[in-house]
């Protein structure tokens, strides 16, 4: 069975100094599945996501992404950090969408989308431009390619950011509160793009406060608090009839 587009984590721990941020996290995401993570601010959701694409390294535990040990290679006695080049290669297979979009302001929307294929993969510029054009069209932004990020609305910028990640042909897409920085009326257009992506079978891990989206799209849902996964299961079950007290308290507050 192919392990492309899968995430497998066992007993992940991560601390910053003396502060434990992730405590014994298990996570399994199958290919084509959408996993949503909810939880109060500071519970470690971003950190978990950032570990999955190497913006942070885990302290201990097993982390396999696309079937490979992520960021490390395993010997009988230890995990050894991969070279920067190998790590970069693994990263190109995992797309990341940030709360603040993080588009490159010195590049147009199209150049942003082309940046990965051209600068990292060394693809032909003309072909990458054609592909970028198609990707921008697929997120509803044909005709906006020549604009700079500062000339686009938040919702448009976030859709460019999604296209930029997709240009690398990742097997997995990670979203860290992709709609939290948006004006309320712009949230829908970004969620629509994400739903579309889920329908096409992309493996996705989404940190979000959009419970409607979680209920509709996700195959599994995790509730995290203080570095622990408190509750997990089918999204409708967890959101509809949470078993744990902390989950109930959190949902009462946000719903």
């Amino acid at each position: 069975m192919s392990t492309d587009g899968t995430i497998h984590a066992r007993g992940i721990r991560k601390s910053f100094g003396s502060k434990s941020v992730l405590q014994n996290i298990d996570l399994d995401v199958a290919s084509g599945e959408v996993c949503c993570i909810i939880g109060p601010s500071g519970s470690g959701k971003s950190t978990l996501l950032r570990c999955i694409n190497g913006l942070e390294t885990v302290d201990s535990g097993v982390l396999k992404v696309n079937g490979e040990n992520f960021g490390y290679y395993e010997t009988d006695t230890a995990y050894h950090a991969l070279s920067k080049k190998k790590l970069a290669e693994q990263r190109t297979r995992v797309g990341m969408v940030f709360q603040q979009f993080n588009l490159f302001p010195n590049m147009t929307a199209q150049e942003n989308v082309m940046s990965g294929p051209v600068l990292v993969k060394g693809h032909d510029k003309k072909k990458a431009a054609v592909r970028a054009y198609e990707l921008l069209a697929s997120v509803g932004l044909s005709g906006h390619g020549h604009k700079y990020p500062a000339q686009l609305s938040g919702g448009q910028q976030q859709r460019v950011a999604i296209a930029r990640s997709l240009a690398m042909d990742p097997e997995i897409m990670l979203f860290d509160e992709p709609t939290s920085a948006l004006d309320p009326e712009k949230v829908g257009e970004v969620l629509a793009v994400m739903k579309d992506l889920a329908k096409k079978g992309m493996t996705m891990v989404v940190v979000t406060h959009e419970m409607g989206f979680a209920r509709e799209v996700s195959d599994s849902l995790l509730f995290m608090d203080e570095g622990y996964v408190i509750e997990r299961g089918d999204a409708r079950d967890v959101l509809g009839s949470p078993k744990e007290r902390r989950t109930q308290a959190f949902l009462e507050k946000v719903l």
Binding site: E89, N102, Q110, K126, H146, A150, Q151, S165
Partner: protein, 298 residues
């Protein structure tokens, strides 16, 4: 009441007595200085005119310009290297750059210049080669460290420390999110530097570098103590002969002033242009964007 429509009456600014006093005082002082400058025969304006375009003065000016351009160019390159080193994750490399910057910014340039001029007292022979082997050649330090070389080395090494701080400041103004976005795309360190960090750091680095350039133009006058015949020293050489000290200092000062004013216009343009750019709006639609490449027809 009045004949003017109340809605159209102008609103007058409050003028305080101190405002009038400021005007009167400034004008009086200005006139006083002007009269003195024009009537005091010791200024010897005729002599100023006579030497303003003198050949040795112009040669000095050329050397001043050369020292400015060369030490700025070399200092900026070295400063860039230092800034990259300072940001390194390898602690000893970062600390070494930090020590360099502290040392060269913490001591007077004049002292540094004299130090480099006398470096042969410390290292009479400079050996270029592989340490602990016989491979390489020795060079007589006295022979290579003449006044102009010492001036260039001193100004460059000092400038590098200041440029390193300017460049580092520009780098740190680039948001963490930008670097994370580049990382998550799998960009290598040098690619990130060239395509993401440097383009975004330039708006703050370039105007500051312009200021350094103007500053350096005046700073070069310090190397006159090494006997380098730049602008100031050229003037000094003349008045040592003719005792026309004041007029020749005026000649040198006027040249410094002219050059500074000439540079201040492009500098203000740079500042204007890049203060707009820091608002992250594109400077202009410079590149012809490949918006609809052939083959993408719908």
């Amino acid at each position: 009441m009045g004949s003017v429509d109340a809605a159209l009456k102008p609103r007058l600014r409050l003028r305080t007595p101190s405002e009038y006093a400021g005007w009167v005082l400034s004008i009086l002082v200005g006139i006083g200085i002007l009269v003195s400058v024009l009537t005091n025969p010791n200024f010897k304006w005729g002599i100023v005119g006579k030497y303003f375009f003198a050949e040795s003065i112009l040669r000095g000016l050329m050397l001043t310009i050369f020292l400015t351009v060369a030490s700025m160019a070399l200092g900026t390159l070295l400063g860039l290297a230092l800034a990259v080193m300072r940001a390194s994750h390898v602690k000893p490399v970062s600390i070494a750059a930090g020590l360099y910057i502290t040392l060269f910014r913490g001591t007077p340039v004049l002292v540094q210049l004299i130090f480099w001029f006398n470096i042969s007292a410390l290292y009479p022979n400079l050996r270029i080669g592989i340490p602990f082997t016989d491979i390489g050649t020795a060079v007589d330090m006295n022979a290579i460290m003449g006044p102009i070389t010492a001036a260039l080395v001193g100004l460059t090494l000092n400038q590098a420390a200041y440029m390193a701080e300017i460049i580092r400041g520009g780098f740190s103004a680039v948001g963490k999110g930008q670097i994370e976005a580049a990382d998550s795309l799998g960009m290598s360190g040098s690619m990130k530097m060239r395509k993401v960090i440097i383009p975004q750091a330039m708006p703050s680095i370039i105007p500051a570098t312009g200021n350094q350039f103007i500053g350096m133009f005046k700073e070069t006058s310090l190397v006159s103590v090494l006997g380098v015949a730049e602008l100031l020293q050229s003037a000094q050489l003349i008045y040592a002969r003719t005792y026309e000290t004041i007029p020749l200092l005026i000649v040198a000062s006027l040249w410094y002033l002219v050059m500074t004013l000439l540079l201040s216009y492009p500098q203000s343009q740079l500042e204007k242009r890049y203060s707009r750019a820091t608002s992250t709006l594109p400077r202009k639609a410079k590149r012809v964007a490949l918006t609809e490449p052939e083959g993408a027809a719908r």
